[in-house]
């Protein structure tokens, strides 16, 4: 039996909704509602903001407090709401034209300021409501009402722009890959910071028909040919890939500080302590103790790391542990560890020999 409680989040009395038969926006609305319901987000703690366009109508069908902003200004309104009421979950439902061209300036700067809002962009590669003109994401060579001989210009690569700095969260999915779509929605809602889900969707009436598709499902098949899913969390997405890009905040180590630490390293080598894994556990940063981690048989003092700031763990890395394997599988290299002073050696090998 499947859970249909998501319907409580939709204004069913306004149904059937205004979109054309087979339009992907309905699927976006439904899946976002399912995602919100799964996380228990409801009218008490969630606000939805949308812009103008066919996709901008989505907020009106949500049984939540909704703001319908002027064209392109969805992100500004959302950021303002989040600033004034940090306890609210703010989501933005809008179109690619609204977010990428008319609101392009706001997209860049909201991304830069990284507020904790989640954006679901219905990317139908066209301006839908106004009649099917070429928009910012229309692929080069596509015939539209304003480009009858094929669009000359290259599209805006949101996958490049919105992954250019870290931290960032960018996911691309389609309305056809439903399971992937649901995972992306969930991950994006849970992410703390600016998260953007680029949902490739179909505008069958004003784009699909001109491209020669008879039904929405034929367009779905076309999405399946054009894109393929890549597994796991990536640090960038190619133009034909669907997946999730998530980058953590970069640790900025100034050039001067680096040389200082390197100098320190040499001095410390004489006074190295021998620590067993048991002893290492005590140095986890609690009660003002320093934070030590083990790496390749050495012990490093990482108290100065901005990421561990009085915390026992930094995402997947736990203080007071041998992190050799973790760091090998981590997206960053081992050089991050070498920035910190070495304070001792691990006694693991010696024990094993005994």
């Amino acid at each position: 039996m499947i859970d249909r409680s998501y319907k409580k989040l939709l204004k069913l009395n306004r149904f059937p909704h205004t979109w054309c038969p087979g339009c992907g926006i309905g699927a976006v609305l439904k899946n976002v509602a399912i995602g919100l319901k799964e996380l228990g987000w409801n009218e008490q703690n969630t606000t939805v903001v949308s812009g103008i366009g066919c996709s901008g109508r989505m907020a009106g069908y949500m049984n939540l407090d909704a703001v319908h902003t002027p064209h392109g200004r969805a992100l500004t309104a959302a950021e303002a709401i989040k600033t004034v009421r940090p306890d609210l979950n703010v989501i933005v439902l809008s179109g690619d034209g609204d977010l990428g061209s008319i609101g392009g300036n706001h997209l860049l700067h909201t991304f830069r300021r990284n507020p904790d809002i989640t954006v679901f962009c219905n990317d139908n590669e066209i301006y839908g409501l106004t009649g099917g003109q070429a928009g910012p994401t229309t692929p080069e060579g596509t015939k539209t009402i304003t480009s009858p001989r094929g669009e000359h210009h290259q599209p805006l690569r949101l996958n490049r722009i919105l992954t250019a700095k870290s931290p960032c969260f960018y996911a691309r999915t389609t309305v056809y890959h439903v399971n992937h779509f649901k995972t992306c929605i969930r991950e994006a809602l849970l992410y703390k910071g600016f998260s953007f889900v680029d949902i490739i969707s179909d505008c069958i009436e004003l784009n699909g028909r001109r491209l020669g598709f008879k039904t929405a499902h034929q367009m779905f098949k076309w999405f399946d040919e054009r894109f393929h899913i890549v597994e796991g969390v990536r640090d960038h997405l190619e133009n034909d890939e669907l997946g999730i890009v998530k980058k953590e905040a970069e640790v900025e180590v100034k050039a001067e500080a680096k040389t200082e630490v390197e100098g320190k390293l040499e001095v410390l080598i004489e006074g190295l302590k021998l620590l067993t894994l048991e002893e290492l556990k005590h140095f986890d940063g609690t009660n003002g103790k320093p934070i030590y981690i083990g790496y390749k048989g050495n012990v490093y003092d990482i108290s100065a790391s901005p990421l561990f700031q009085g915390e026992k763990r930094m995402r997947c890395h736990i203080a007071g542990k041998d992190l050799t394997r973790d760091i090998e599988t981590a997206p960053h290299g081992e050089d991050l560890v070498y920035h910190f002073p070495m304070v001792g050696r691990l006694k693991v090998k010696a024990e094993a020999e005994k």
Binding site: I2, G26, T215
Partner: protein, 67 residues
């Protein structure tokens, strides 16, 4: 709200916009579009595919207990 009961799926005539995504996603061709109506033929394997893809929440696969 008027819903037409079928063998396995409930089709909501009012919400449906006849985009026939459900007919096309059905892996066993148990749904068909005839005379402006979605009709169900025998052979439904209850995969919920039509319900998952319907953008208008117009089609639902009945729960096992209610049948």
């Amino acid at each position: 709200m008027y819903m037409k009961p079928r063998l396995n799926v409930i089709w909501n005539e009012i919400y449906c916009k006849r985009c026939i995504i459900c007919v096309e996603v059905c892996p066993v061709q148990a749904l068909a579009f005839e005379r402006d109506e979605i009709v169900e033929r025998p052979g439904c394997i209850r995969c919920y595919q039509c319900e998952r893809y319907c953008p208008d929440i117009a089609i639902e696969v009945m729960d096992e207990e209610k049948r």
